[in-house]
Symmetry: C2
């Protein structure tokens, strides 16, 4: 690898400049705070409205708070940040845009459904690695009640959710990527859109699993790594069904990930009945990474993590028009300095 | 400038590797085809439905066609392209996602409302300049009938539009950015979100003008250039009202752009009564640049263009909740080789 080619294989960007994840911050709702990862989140809100007049405004505030807290934890000022790479699930990503209007740096607005956080980390790592920035923030958010009423039914309606459904998390996560201390982003594998024809909007895990398997496979092909290189391969929000399906799809391609595979959607909640298949939403992988994995990396309990955020790229309108659910997954490798091993 | 710092000022990325706009393609509807720029577009469709069953499906097809045509015109195969940086106005940018599922390369999904095309050009130029890719496509689309029924009223409803309104164009534009021949992308100035409290969704030009003025001012500050450096400073879709307001805001900051300022929304239509203030939509600046400006650059009639695409970052939901219209504008400088002058 040299300055003339910071990519390998067909989809993977290489970051020889070793951009660091300098800090991370997570702000979650009460349900996420009382889940298995609760102790790892920076801020657990007591309610989902934050005393404001709409859930949408609450989401904006949670996202802004996560961004500002990540900057603070990195020992930086807002004026040191050169871009916010951010998205969410709301139509026209208004959570991100409205959070960004309070911030003094440019917004690079992203939409990759629940893959958005890793899309932002990929682009942000590239900006830092390529010396286009010294510090940027990648962030994403979701909110159970804003997502439910936009994609499915208003929560007040109280409809019964089918067993394959997942529970959109109320959470925002943000990381500062820069030239300071922290685990390195070593690779980013950008995902293609994969559509296997799934049409059930209440089973997004199955719709996204083929894209996750494809991106994981491609990442390993491009880098020449084995699954065992990673202490943890963590998908974003496949949930219980999608996680199983992804592992099976990888197994059929000769890849055994059974020893080091996790899904943020399966980690974030106890499997109480209403949660069904697990957590989902942009905020799921963002908060799980910024809140939990990053701390494990700092403590050295994890040294090599492949974070694979997965998105279902449908809209309510596209489903009503009979379209299927295209999936996408982007992956970033985050590794502690000196722990990358001998792989390329 | 050196490898340790490919940015200047607070918001501007520098591309010393001179990524080239290798080709551009534009696919537009009949109304755009019969407008003043009609002769410059590659494909003018005879109707807005393309014989398909929904306008949304027609938009997907126009966008995919623009991407494929741009790749063809660059003398490349789809397999040579390493990413599609793309967005549109539909909820969850389904036009982009559904177009991308037919394409064999990764999707970097973007949302910057009508600033999306330049957001994609900025990121794409960075990918090529930084050697993370040898060829990528930046693209955007909009469709009058899909946008009207999502943001305002179904067109069948036939409501009367107020004088400040603009006409969302039916158009897709795409460019190939790579290491081949063509005018260079020399700078990108990423925009901050600027919200002056405008609330009229039928006057988006006024809502976006402050962001446009801010980004143009910042670009000139960062680069040390004067407005007269450019043969043309072209905003995306401010329309007649927003264009005037932007020029006035710049005048108050001591910048006279009266001699070389244009707005794609003012260029794309004759001012027939129903068009009111001009064109708008992601496809407006995308098709105007790919169809018109790029040809003028190739012919040497333009040598230095600053393209400033502007977006109103609201959603129908945010407006119904009483929120104002945050604006954003991103800018890219596109210059013919050897014609960049002595400015930094």
């Amino acid at each position: 690898m040299n300055a003339a080619g910071k990519r390998i294989g067909s989809q993977t960007l290489v970051f020889p400049g070793r951009p660091a994840v300098q800090s991370g911050a997570s702000v979650v709702g009460p349900k996420e705070g009382s889940g298995p990862l609760g102790q790892y989140f920076d801020v657990v809100k007591g309610d989902t409205l934050l005393g404001d007049r709409s859930w949408e405004r609450a989401e904006v505030r949670m996202l802004g708070e996560a961004v500002e807290l990540a900057v603070y934890k990195a020992g930086l000022k807002l004026q040191d940040i050169q871009a916010l790479l951010c998205g969410d699930l709301l139509n026209q990503i208004t959570a991100s845009s409205f959070a960004a209007r309070e911030l003094p740096f440019p917004l690079v607005g992203l939409y990759g459904a629940c893959s958005t956080f890793v899309e932002g980390m990929s682009l942000g790592a590239m900006m830092v690695d390529g010396a286009y920035a010294t510090a940027v923030v990648a962030a994403a958010s979701s909110h159970h009640d804003t997502a439910e009423r936009q994609f499915r039914y208003p929560t007040e309606f109280g409809n019964q959710r089918p067993p394959a459904a997942q529970w959109t998390v109320t959470a925002a996560g943000a990381v500062v990527l820069g030239r300071g201390e922290g685990p390195h982003v070593t690779f980013a594998t950008l995902g293609r859109v994969v559509d296997m024809g799934a049409v059930d909007v209440n089973d997004m895990g199955s719709a996204m699993a083929p894209a996750a398997a494809e991106t994981i496979w491609q990442h390993l092909q491009d880098t020449g790594r084995k699954p065992s290189h990673y202490d943890l391969i963590a998908t974003g929000d496949l949930g219980r069904l999608g996680r199983k399906l992804c592992m099976e799809l990888l197994r059929r391609r000769g890849l055994d990930v059974s020893g080091n595979f996790a899904d943020c959607g399966c980690l974030i909640f106890d499997f109480t009945p209403e949660v069904h298949c697990g957590g989902s939403g942009c905020g799921c992988s963002a908060a799980a990474f910024a809140g939990y994995f990053l701390g494990e990396l700092a403590a050295g309990r994890l040294n090599r993590v492949l974070l694979v955020a997965t998105g279902s790229l449908h809209s309510p309108g596209s489903s009503q028009q009979g379209e299927s659910l295209p999936g996408i997954a982007h992956a970033v490798a985050i590794e502690n300095p000196g722990q990358e091993g001998s792989s390329p």
